[in-house]
């Protein structure tokens, strides 16, 4: 992270933290699972801010103009630094929920808060969370007239960060997702998997504290998807962020998440809130373990129960 960007983050951090004196926690459970030795480029400067943003959702209701009630009375707490998977039938309101959390949409009732880790001070949207939240869509949605580097640098550009700084950060994010040699290619010269990597890099470039992902790898083939899942899990472990990940795949949910919730069909209610009973260290091989099969079955049954 270069000087200027760091200063930016530091300033917002100070503003955020000025009301409390809790020392920053430098240790979290995730640290065990790091695998940082495998990913040296992921190491962060020690003075980097400490944790992901938590989310608190209270009795949220969202009804669309056409009368469709997508969400009605959802309560959900996501801890700082948690990896949460959201499963649910098609059209039940998962994307709606994610957009509300991102502040891209407003609920008709209830509240959505993002929270600091150490003191639980709730922060309504629009105060200081802009750069803290990143969003990855089902499709990569890159700007086709920009190359990968310019696409990944876009969020920083929109935040008004100068070119040299943002390009350095973008290059680092591109490295993180393993796209190092494609930085000057255009989206139509990339495979679907590479496009998705670029999209992920664009989300990571601001060093978000809350990463929202809406079925991001659903359109990819199985191998590519697993590879990206592996990478995402490692990135999450290394980058101190909260991840909320919508998926239709129980396997993906079980592999990635610490906790999974299953939603009912519209209007969405949480019908299962399940903490996965799997080791923190997750490598590809875990997918073939009996414990993994058991956990996916739990999720699958929860899904099936409310599908009918």
């Amino acid at each position: 992270m270069s000087e200027r960007l760091l200063k930016r983050f530091d300033r917002t951090d100070r503003a955020r933290n000025e009301q409390h004196v809790t020392p920053k926690a430098h240790f979290s459970m995730k640290d065990h699972a790091l695998g940082l030795t495998m990913l040296p480029m992921l190491q962060k400067p020690s003075h980097h801010r400490e944790s992901g943003l938590g989310v608190r959702i209270e009795g949220v209701r969202r009804q669309f103009e056409n009368g469709v009630v997508a969400l009605d009375g959802i309560d959900l707490n996501v801890a700082s630094g948690e990896f949460l998977a959201i499963l649910g039938p098609s059209g039940c309101g998962k994307s709606t929920l994610l957009r509300l959390i991102a502040g891209l949409d407003k609920p008709q009732g209830g509240n959505v808060f993002t929270m600091e880790a150490s003191h639980g001070r709730a922060d309504r949207h629009g105060l200081g969370t802009r750069a803290d939240i990143a969003y990855v869509f089902q499709d990569a949605h890159l700007l086709p007239w920009r190359n990968v580097l310019a696409n990944v640098a876009l969020p920083l550009e929109l935040m008004g960060i100068e070119r040299k700084v943002r390009e350095e950060s973008a290059l680092r994010a591109i490295e993180q997702v393993g796209l190092g040699d494609a930085a000057d290619r255009y989206p139509n010269q990339l495979s679907g998997g590479m496009r998705m990597r670029a999209s992920l890099a664009r989300a990571l470039v601001t060093e978000p504290r809350l990463l929202l992902m809406d079925e991001p790898f659903a359109a990819l083939d199985e191998i590519t998807r697993q590879r990206l899942d592996d990478q995402l899990r490692a990135l999450w472990a290394a980058l101190n962020m909260t991840v909320i990940f919508v998926t239709h795949s129980t396997i993906e949910a079980a592999f990635l998440a610490q906790r999974a919730i299953v939603l009912s069909s519209r209007p969405a209610r949480i019908v299962e809130d399940y903490t996965l009973n799997l080791p923190a260290e997750r490598t590809g091989s875990i997918r073939s373990s009996p414990a993994f099969a058991r956990e996916t079955r739990v999720l699958y049954q929860a899904l099936e129960r409310n599908e009918v």
């Binding site: 939240i133 869509f137 949605h141 700007l143 876009l154 969020p155 929109l158 255009y186």
Partner: protein, 260 residues
């Protein structure tokens, strides 16, 4: 790109051959059946009308080109700006957009004399006609491009707090470029037609000596070969403008748009 020579020949050769065949057929038919020259001018005499002694026609082409280009340029700038304003607010769009249709439906034949009344004679009313006739496709196509930006990308820009200007300049306008070029392609041909029609109606009043003026004149004095030559030049002017826009579109879109 390495196939370029082949594709160039493949685009240019077939229509050229077709043209020559058709022209030769007309020439042969007109000669053999002894059609009177004032009814059916020989293609050969049309070409001769453009040769030595045809400088009046080439001059006229210049006048018409200037008038159509001026009208087209104003259409481009005004049309894109108008579309940006219309795209900016749903209510402005609802209130104003229906009236832009007047550009499309106005009987240019009726208002051209009025334009002279307001603006005097010369190139100004001619260029204005070119503008009036050609602006609507620019507005309509640009607008449809601007309002159909991918919603996820709009969300993305909002997420990072992009200003309205940044969203317009970095997202909505570039995304609308293919539509804008579609509008400009249509407008180019219309601008030439608008200019020639205006010259036809009001050109003879002033010192504007465009192709339309020549057409009126030569019809009056029964020089059908010159009339046809003028029509030919006007068509080529439209084609040239169309080709120029395609050329610009190709270079600005080739890296990313499927159309290129």
């Amino acid at each position: 790109m390495k196939h370029r020579p082949t594709t160039f020949l493949a685009t240019v050769l077939p229509p050229a051959v077709a043209l020559i065949v058709v022209l030769a057929a007309i020439e042969a038919w007109a000669r053999w059946t002894h059609q009177p020259a004032y009814l059916v001018p020989r293609p050969s005499t049309i070409f001769l009308a453009l040769g030595p002694g045809g400088s009046a026609l080439w001059n006229a082409l210049l006048w018409t080109a200037v008038a159509s280009l001026a009208g087209f340029a104003v259409s481009t700038i005004f049309g894109i700006f108008a579309a940006i304003l219309l795209a900016g607010s749903k209510w402005v769009r609802r209130a104003v957009y229906p009236y832009t249709l007047f550009f499309q439906t106005v009987p240019i034949v009726a208002i051209a004399p009025l334009l002279v009344f307001w603006m005097g004679v010369g190139i100004v009313p001619v260029a204005t006609c070119a503008f009036v006739v050609s602006v609507f496709p620019v507005i309509a196509n640009t607008l449809s491009g601007l309002v159909s930006t991918e919603p996820a990308l709009v969300d993305l820009f909002r997420l990072y707090g992009a200003s309205r200007f940044a969203s317009l300049w970095k997202l909505r306008l570039p995304a609308a470029l293919p539509n804008i070029f579609t509008g400009l392609r249509i407008a180019a041909g219309l601008a030439v037609i608008g200019a020639v029609v205006a010259e036809f109606l009001v050109g003879t009043l002033g010192e504007h000596e465009g192709l339309g003026v020549r057409i009126v004149e030569n019809t009056k004095y029964a020089y059908p070969d010159r009339v046809f030559a003028a029509v030919l030049l006007a068509s080529f002017l439209g084609l040239a403008m169309f080709a120029a826009i395609n050329f610009i579109a190709f270079f600005s879109l080739r890296r990313w748009h499927a159309s290129q």
